[in-house]
């Protein structure tokens, strides 16, 4: 697979003339953290963030050169689960059109996060946009794709030292609750997954700062997924409050 925006070594727009108009939707989730634990729920910053995000999404083709103009039927960004150390921004865009609109979702979500952070008094430099990722996409040739975020609930090591597990609960990305308190530190590893959705993470999942490669899986007697990781993942000490991210996969 090659980047379709490059032709004969030069950037160009993709010709979508012959594509069909379909009802399309994209949802992007952005996680923002504050290293000083001082996020404030300031109404003015939320209003500015919403307005800037909407304007930026509408004007995206002026800034991202090879994108197509899109007549949106809906653009909406919202911040959820604002706590002292982090918040989540969800951006949804919809249109009946020829092309996908995930890039529009990304820019809208990131501009919302930037505006929210920059309008928080003097603490802007404590903010990190930890991740921004497409969590849902529907319409068009590729059909419906979803990415699942989860939360590690507990960690345990098997009696057999070659078998290491993490217990994970899948959460709806639109309703992420605050992280639980840290469990005691533990060296942990492969995965005991309580939800079938991560079954689809056939290549990699991300846990904390790591990508873990899944090389083997089976279903245990309780119906839990046992995911065996490669040796490289032995370095992946995992904390209970780490977010688990699966690949974007077909529904």
């Amino acid at each position: 697979m090659k980047p379709t925006h490059i032709k004969n070594g030069l950037p160009h727009m993709v010709d979508v003339t012959d594509k069909n108009v379909t009802s399309r939707k994209a949802i992007v989730l952005t996680e923002v953290i504050h290293t000083g634990n001082a996020i404030k729920h300031v109404k003015e910053s939320l209003v500015k963030a919403s307005l800037s995000s909407t304007i930026a999404t509408k004007l995206l083709p002026q800034f991202i050169p090879m994108t197509h103009p899109i007549p949106f039927t809906y653009i909406g960004s919202d911040s959820t689960d604002i706590s002292q150390d982090r918040c989540f921004v969800t951006t949804q865009v919809r249109a009946n059109w020829y092309t996908g609109m995930e890039v529009e979702g990304y820019l809208g979500s990131l501009i919302y996060a930037l505006t929210f952070a920059a309008n928080q008094d003097k603490s802007f430099y404590h903010f990190i946009i930890k991740r921004s990722m497409l969590v849902h996409k529907s319409g068009g040739k590729s059909g419906t794709l979803s990415r699942h975020l989860g939360k590690i609930l507990s960690i345990k090591t098997s009696v057999n030292t070659d078998q290491k597990y993490i217990k994970i609960k899948k959460l709806d990305p639109l309703f992420i609750s605050n992280y639980p308190p840290l469990a005691e530190k533990d060296n942990s590893y492969p995965l005991l997954v309580t939800d079938a959705d991560l079954y689809y993470a056939k290549g990699y999942i991300e846990v904390g700062p790591h990508f873990m490669t899944i090389t083997y899986r089976e279903i245990d007697e309780s119906g839990h997924f046992l995911l065996m990781l490669t040796p490289r993942c032995d370095m992946a000490v995992v904390r209970v409050n780490h977010t688990v991210v699966s690949l974007l996969t077909e529904e």
């Binding site: 697979m1 490059i6 800034f63 050169p65």
Partner: protein, 218 residues
């Protein structure tokens, strides 16, 4: 306008990550990668020049200089933007970086839908971010996690688990180190040796890079 306007500098780095495709960079012609990076740089510069459209709330300022750089790796591209301006250079740099990374994502999304943006952070005004190399380490690096107040020696034997081993000693003008989401303040211990003291509860893996950050506002 009366008086002298003070130019300040700010920086932002961020990553475009694709976890599921091996050899993406190796198998894409170098000319194509160059074109993609030039397009992202063009877009970032355009966003810096037209910043009030994307961020109408920004205070009026004059941008003196900007620079957009990339580092290409097997599973990610790091985008780095530095801006000199009379006001809010860190925010302007972050805005440029967001557009740079979104453009890169647009160019790579046809290769894998699993591409995404991560770890966008910014330095304080008049300060900078320096990516530093780490001494040879186990292939997967050393994982550390810390609570507020935990201390780590900065240059020690890297065979000690949990240690931070840097290629060079920390220049005195830097005062923060970022590894994963763990922020470490560089301080002197009673013996006068530099140590890194955790300022948040966080974790990260020392692989081949870490970020030294000067001048984070408290």
């Amino acid at each position: 306008m009366n008086g002298v306007m003070r130019i300040k500098a700010g920086e932002s780095t961020g990553k475009l990550i694709w976890p599921d495709v091996e050899n993406l960079i190796e198998e894409t012609p170098k000319g194509d990668i160059d074109s993609i990076l030039l397009t992202a740089r063009f877009a970032a510069e355009n966003a810096i020049k037209n910043r009030y459209i994307l961020a109408p709330w920004l205070p009026d300022s004059i941008v003196n200089k900007y620079e957009v750089k990339f580092e290409v790796n097997n599973h990610h591209i790091t985008s780095h933007v530095r801006v000199e301006a009379t006001a809010c250079p860190g925010i302007i740099a972050t805005l440029g970086n967001i557009v740079s990374l979104t453009t890169l994502l647009d160019m790579f999304k046809s290769v894998t839908k699993n591409v995404y943006i991560a770890d966008i952070f910014m330095s304080g005004e008049n300060y900078n971010i320096k990516e530093i190399e780490i001494l040879s380490l186990p292939e997967e690096g050393i994982y550390i996690e810390a609570n507020v107040g935990d201390e780590f020696p900065l240059v020690i034997n890297n065979s000690v688990p949990g240690s931070i081993a840097l290629k060079s000693t920390i220049p005195k003008e830097y005062d923060m180190l970022l590894i994963g989401d763990l922020w470490l303040k560089i301080v002197s211990d009673p013996m006068g040796m530099l140590v890194a003291k955790a300022t948040n509860q966080g974790s990260g893996t020392i692989t081949d890079k870490a970020f030294l950050i000067r001048g984070i506002r408290k």
